[in-house]
Amino acid sequence: MRRFELLEPESFAAASAALLEHPEAKAIAGGTALLILIKHGVYVPELLVNLRKIRGMADITWDAASGLRVGALASLNDIERSPLVREHLPMLAEACHVVANIRIRNLATIGGNVSHGDYQSDPPTALVALGAVVELSTATGTRELLLADFLLGPYETALEPGELVSAVRVPPPGAGWRSAYLKFTTRSSEDRPAVGVATLLRLDGETVREARLVVGAVTVTPSRMTDVESYLGGRSLDAGTLAEVGRMVSAGIQPIDDIRGSAAYKRRLAGVQAERALELCSTMGAAR
């Protein structure tokens, strides 16, 4: 691999200070995204700040009032296997489980996943649907942003110089919500998503009381389909309603072409997958 130097600070404060002192340097945690870019020559670093020596930043905790808090250095496999996540936020466990393969999920961290800002990823779509918040910290303080506001574009986030994602928080979803995350790949089953749909439903018998629908991996950041959410309120999820949702998603989304499908294909696919995700959520979605 191309030569670069590594700083290996032993505390979060020292890591933040190192990033402030070397504005051209990037932080590296699991390395599964960054090392591929370096190997491909897309990213040519002189210096990386390795976070491996920082302790106590991989904890996963749950509080009834504030919800889930995942330390930035928790691996995707830590999250998918966490009994707390599986109990309270099964959709997040699923969205982590469908990433790549077990070897990658053992290395990749949630902090790295959201900081990388790659739109072709599963966890951000589920996290945006769940109203997740990122904690952005420096040596001196912490601010919070909705993940939806943190993700600005492909590989672009709201991180300021010297800031690192220290944790991802998910508020408690409240009683009666069902959820589902549905991934579609166009190459191998372990590939990044061509489309990912995260949906939450609060049902009263057959009738939708509240819905949330986020389509990921087709637009530069996950797209929350608020018009579909309001349309669904008070309706039952019959064939006619689902078909109209598919039509609304296809009409409303602005996909981009990429290696996993043309914009026209993804437009069609997003609608179909939204219908399937809602159906999955209403029939199989774990009730919370």
Partner: protein
């Protein structure tokens, strides 16, 4: 600048001087002559470089060597004493779960990881866990059979032990 790290490789403590840009796979193969893990894709997709770090399977091609400081690494060379085969290796041999053998060390390390995580895994779980290990000879169904054999043996041994 090289960094000095101490780590455990196949149960043996080692002091290693590693350059910051070197992967674990490069250090295993080039510095330690542990050539069982091989580079297929180099980007974490094929699984032929799978090793265990603290019992968990990872792609050694995407792991900075410095990251194994204070950790325990197990490679295919460490799954059984010299001259012997582990239960997983034995089952692969019995089921002929390989042809050219390029993917086999990675495949076996992934199975070792599976057995630690899910010792009683059913077929769906086996397939799910191994889905990222590619075999271009197409020995997948023999691999699944081999893993089922090992899980059945372990289960039978456990039943026997608890009955005895």
């Amino acid at each position: 600048m090289k960094q000095l790290i101490s780590t455990t490789i196949n149960g043996r403590e080692r002091e290693l001087a590693v350059a910051p840009n070197r992967t674990l796979l490069e250090v295993l193969r080039e510095d330690l002559q542990l050539t069982g893990a091989v580079e297929g894709c180099g980007v974490g997709q094929c699984g032929s470089c799978t090793v265990l770090i603290d019992g968990r399977p990872v792609s050694s091609c995407l792991t900075l060597a410095t990251n194994v400081e204070g950790r325990s690494v197990t490679t295919i060379e460490g799954v059984a004493p010299a001259g012997q085969l582990s239960a997983v290796q034995q089952a692969f041999l019995h089921r002929q779960a390989f042809q050219c053998g390029f993917c086999t060390p990675g495949m076996i390390m992934a199975v070792e990881g599976l057995l630690r995580d899910h010792p009683g895994a059913g077929e769906a779980q086996i397939r799910d866990y191994l889905s990222g290990n590619l075999c271009r000879c197409g020995t997948y169904s023999a691999v699944i059979d081999a893993v089922k054999d090992v899980i059945a043996e372990v289960g039978a041994a456990r039943d026997k032990a608890s009955a005895g």
